[in-house]
Structures are given as structure tokens and as C-alpha cells.
Symmetry: C2
Subunit: 344 residues, 2 copies
């Protein structure tokens, strides 16, 4: 019996990127795909439903040497987290019809050769797209970074940068639920409104309207910051260091302001680490995935009770993918940027 073939739209990286990525760095092409797994293989063939646009993906567009991730391959489709439906499976743990999330290709169909790295989706009474965000990698990132790295205590002050993004909006809400005072920064009036009115941050500001970030932080944290959830790096980090409290903690999740620079900005206020006895710790979500069930147990009831909200910015169709991904680096998205490839 001849295998069924289908056309397969793909988003391909033209060449390694330097500086700010442009839409033209990505190419939408159409190939074909066999809709079954090769005989005898352990692979799984999936239909991609939702694709996640995440800041770390910028790093994979560069020619990387010895990083924690690999470069995308010029001429091949890029990859990222996605929500997928199993079409065919050669793996005992997965069967046709299963919904899963994990790292998949930016294309309509993908052959997954290491399906062990995928999570099965068991709860479908919440939007499926949430598994690219609140219930996926960014959710686990917020959970691990805030609770596990920062050990927050009730009454502490928390600052979150890139606060309306996929991770930041959750850190803020987790901080509120812990009884912390939380302020977020974002890059537009609209996002600041979102932080204050939708995510219930205690306060928020537009960093683009603050010529003096140190002064801004002193305004919002007259007694200093206990916990900084670091998403941006650069000048914001330097200003935060001047405003940390004694024994403050900085969870370093990312430094998106630096990803498009050839030479990262210099940080000048690191001696504050001694003065204030600060702990600054980098973390990667992969190491916390064994705690995903524990996270789901905490967060699913909160979602169902409406105690946690999540804002997504959904781009329709794979063809809109390049613009959606690139837009992340100029802050075009409001909330978690998702690309809807197909609605099942």
C-alpha cells in the first residue's frame, strides 16, 4: 500500500541572522510529507496545531558554538514548542488522535523522532493553545523561576521585566497569589494597562517613557526590591542592581534586550551583589520538567476558578509565522505570541 502524501507548508531559515531578525530572514515554502511513520521506527507523525513564538528562538537563528541549544539549520524549517495532534505513531506511548506538546517543526506536519520528549495533553477543558504558554514551557518557566529559584515570601517586593509577555504575566500573578507586592515593566501604554487592569499587578510602568530607570524603580520601590525576575538584561538590570534589598534574589530567565546585539551591553553595578548580598541565579526550564505534574496540579484549578488569566496574541496561519516571530523582538505582540496553524 502506497503511503498517503500531503502538501506541507514550512517556515525555513534562509541563513544565520546577525542583529535584529527580519521577516525576510524566514521563507515560507511548500513541500510534501508522507502521512505515516517509516516502518519499524519509533517516531510519531504529528499535525501541528499551535506554534509558540519565544524569545530564546532568536539565539537559535545565530551561528552558535557550544551553547545550551543548537542553531537552526539554514535551508531547513525552524523549530519551537507546539501543540500537535498525533496522526500516526510507531511509539508505544503515543497513538493516533493523542494531543501532545513539545518541540516540533514550523510546518503543517512534522515527523517527531524523539517523541519521549513530548508531554501528553490530558486536560482539554482549557484552550489547547495554552499548552504553548500558561500550561507549557513558559508556564513552567514562570513557576520554576519564581517559586524554585526565588523562594518568595509573603510581603516581599517583586519586580518583573517584560511583564506582559508569556512568562512575565504569570510571574506577576504568582507573586500576587503569594501575597507579594509586584510591579512590572513593559514597552507600551496598552501593555501597562493590561498589567494593572487584567493581571492585577500592584503597579506597572512603560520603560520607554523612563529616561532614568533607576529613578523609576526608586519611585515604585522606595524600600527596594526583594525579588527581580529578569527577562531583559542590559540597562534595566543595571538599574535593578542599584535598587535591590539586602539578600535579594535575581532569577535570570533571559536577557531579550541583548539577543540582537553583536556585543552585549556592559553591566556596571555588579558590586551591588556584595553590598546587598544578592543571589543571582540562571535557570533553564528543561531541568524542572519532572515537576510539570506538580505545576499542573497547582495551576489547573486556578484557571478553572478564573483566579489566573492569560492573554494570548494569536496570529492565524503558518504564513503569518515569520511576522509574528520577528515582531517579538520589537515588542509588537500583546501577551503570549502564538501562531495558529490549524484548529484540529
Amino acid at each position: 500500500m502506497a503511503a498517503v502524501e500531503a502538501s506541507n507548508k514550512q517556515v525555513v531559515l534562509r541563513d544565520y541572522v546577525e542583529g535584529f531578525p527580519r521577516e525576510s530572514d524566514l521563507l515560507v515554502t511548500t513541500g510534501t510529507v508522507r502521512l505515516s511513520v517509516p516502518e519499524g521506527s519509533n517516531a510519531v507523525l504529528v499535525k501541528n496545531l499551535y506554534l509558540s513564538c519565544d524569545p530564546y528562538m532568536r539565539n537559535r537563528m545565530s551561528k552558535l558554538v557550544g551553547s545550551y541549544i543548537e542553531s537552526f539549520k539554514p535551508g531547513s524549517p525552524i523549530a519551537g514548542y507546539g501543540v500537535c495532534k498525533v496522526i500516526d505513531s510507531g511509539h508505544p506511548n503515543f497513538k493516533k488522535g493523542d494531543l501532545v506538546w513539545g518541540i516540533t517543526g514550523w510546518e503543517e506536519y512534522s515527523l517527531i523522532t524523539a517523541p519521549e520528549t513530548f508531554f501528553k495533553i490530558k486536560h482539554t477543558d482549557v484552550p489547547l493553545s495554552y499548552y504553548t504558554g500558561l500550561l507549557g514551557m513558559p508556564g513552567m518557566t514562570a513557576y520554576a523561576g519564581f517559586f524554585k529559584v526565588c523562594s518568595p515570601k509573603k510581603g516581599e517586593t517583586v519586580f518583573v521585566s517584560a511583564a506582559s509577555g508569556a512568562v512575565g504575566q504569570l510571574v506577576g500573578q504568582f507573586a500576587k497569589s503569594t501575597g507579594c507586592y509586584v510591579v512590572g515593566s513593559a514597552g507600551s501604554k496598552e501593555k501597562v494597562e493590561l498589567l494593572k487592569n487584567k493581571f492585577k499587578f500592584d503597579d506597572a510602568f512603560n520603560y520607554k517613557e523612563e529616561p532614568d530607570l533607576d529613578a523609576a524603580l526608586k519611585r515604585y520601590f522606595p524600600d527596594g526590591i526583594d525579588i527581580y525576575f529578569e527577562n531583559v538584561g542590559g540597562k534595566m538590570l543595571d538599574a535593578v542592581l542599584l535598587n535591590m534589598k539586602m539578600h535579594g534574589r535575581i532569577a535570570v530567565c533571559g536577557m531579550v534586550s541583548q539577543y540582537n546585539l553583536k556585543q552585549p551591553e556592559g553591566i556596571h553595578n555588579l558590586f551591588q551583589i556584595v553590598v546587598k548580598r544578592i543571589r543571582m541565579e540562571g535557570f533553564l526550564v528543561f531541568e524542572y520538567y519532572p515537576q510539570y505534574p506538580e505545576y499542573l496540579e497547582m495551576v489547573l484549578p486556578l484557571i478553572r476558578e478564573g483566579k489566573i488569566v492569560y492573554v494570548e496574541d494569536i496570529a492565524e496561519g503558518l504564513t503569518s509565522g515569520p511576522a509574528a516571530l520577528v515582531g517579538l523582538f520589537s515588542g509588537k505582540n500583546v501577551g503570549k505570541q502564538v501562531v495558529a496553524v490549524a484548529r484540529e
Copy 2:
């Protein structure tokens, strides 16, 4: 009965210092002192025997605002750790003849108004001057920073900067006794020899002869660094960040290369904190003083058995104090810099 008076030589700060301190920033003068404590006071009058020259003292020469320490007062004697003999006491815990160590004035006699902060010296079978170093603040600093902040494990790789100094030489020896591989950097051939031959570091290099610190570190740590004991900051820290291993730890003790700069150098490689999941933590020895008895219990037997060695650079007489202190910042001292004011 009239109180006995004595002449009292003092080292006085002329004015706040900017940039590299010079001998002429300090003035040796002679006043008088009453050799008894005021009636009804809790104070203690001490004769200063040994004074400690420590890098952090540079910060107190500047006009500081909101730091963890206070500026020295222009026109008054500077202060620092010292070993002293009690001449008169109004405090129930101290009596004439007691040997103590703590923060005292740079002068022949000092009236200590908060003697509670002093430690009594109970073991005098070791050189008294050691209580400014190995058995004093620098010793506790090495102990707390290495064992408590870095949680070292046998077989790990350790890098120490300013390794022949008061703290560094101990960190290296503690690392060896833990079964670690340890390399130190210092600023002269003589110091490098000391590290290798006297303190038994596995290896050592002269950072002034290394145009490319990253390359030097890759030579000594082809598989990377687990623990960095940070004493210097600046370019060395930036190079170390590129060479840390996964889950590496950086104990930030000081950043002496930065203390004389108006604007600290920028650190560009901080994103490595995420890539390698590094924990970077500042600490101050004060918070660990409750563990001083535990430290003595560990270190005294090692000294007596000759399993730990300590090199001091002793300047004779208070008049030599300004040159000794200022010399610290050009690396003139070989080993722990002490000023011997009187030998009991």
C-alpha cells in the same frame, strides 16, 4: 587621682579619596590619650598591636552614601581590624591584659566604645598577628565564602583570583583539603611561585602576562570551572563567565580591580549565567561570625599540624602604615599585609 596620659600616634585621612589612593592621602600625627576608660562607661581602652590592611578599606576612603559600611571621617584616624591588648576596661566581659581582635583605630591606643563586637583571643600558641588574617576576618571570609556559599565537592575545579592575598591563599588551601583541583591568579612571578610551591595550588598564573584571560583560563581549565572565588571583578570576571561549567558557583567576595575606578568596568558575558545555570552570590563575612568557633575548631589543628601555611607581609611601625595600606592596591604586598604597631 589624675588619669595617666600617653602620646598617641595616629594615621589620619586627609580628605575623601578619588581614584588610586596615595600615601599622601594619609597623615601620621601625634595626639595624646588618657589611658583609662571614662568613669561609668562600658568602653574598653586598648593598646593596638597589629593592624590589618584589607582591600575593602579603600571603599571607606570614598564619600559613601547608603553603602554597607561608612566612610572614614576626614581629619580622624582611619579604622580597621586589629589585634589589641586591653589596658583598662569598663565592660564586664573584658579585663586588663585580655588579648582581643576587632575593628579598632589606626593609632597606638584606642578607646573602644562597642567592645561587644570584639572577639577574645584564647589561643596564643600561634602568632598573634594571625588574628588579623588566618584566624580573623580574612580567615572567616575564606571559610564562609568557600564552604558555605560554594558548597564544594571533591573533584571539582576551583579558580581563585588575587590568590596570594589574605583570603585567596586560604581558599586555595581549603580547596586542596577538600580534594578539589585549584588554580590561582596573581600579579607577579614571585606570587605565582608562592602559590605553587608554598600554598600547593595545582597551578597558578600571572594575569599581567596574559593578554587573553579567556585563553589562559581555557589552558588551565580545559573542562571548565566549577567554583570561582571572586576577589577582583572586571575583565577577569568576564573571562571566567565564559569558562564556567554547568551549575557553577561564583562566590563574590570583592572586586578589588574596580575600587579605584570612577566608573566600574562593564561586564559583558552575564548571559552565561543562564546558559550554564550559574549561581552568583555576594556575601559579607559579618553575617558568618556566629560560626567563628566552628571555624577555629577546624583550622587550629590544621595550623598546629603544619597542614595549613600562612604568609604575612609585616610592615614595622605605625608610621609605615600609609605605605602598607596604599601598596595593597598596586599589589606590592606578598601575602597578608599587616602593620605591627607594637609587639605587646
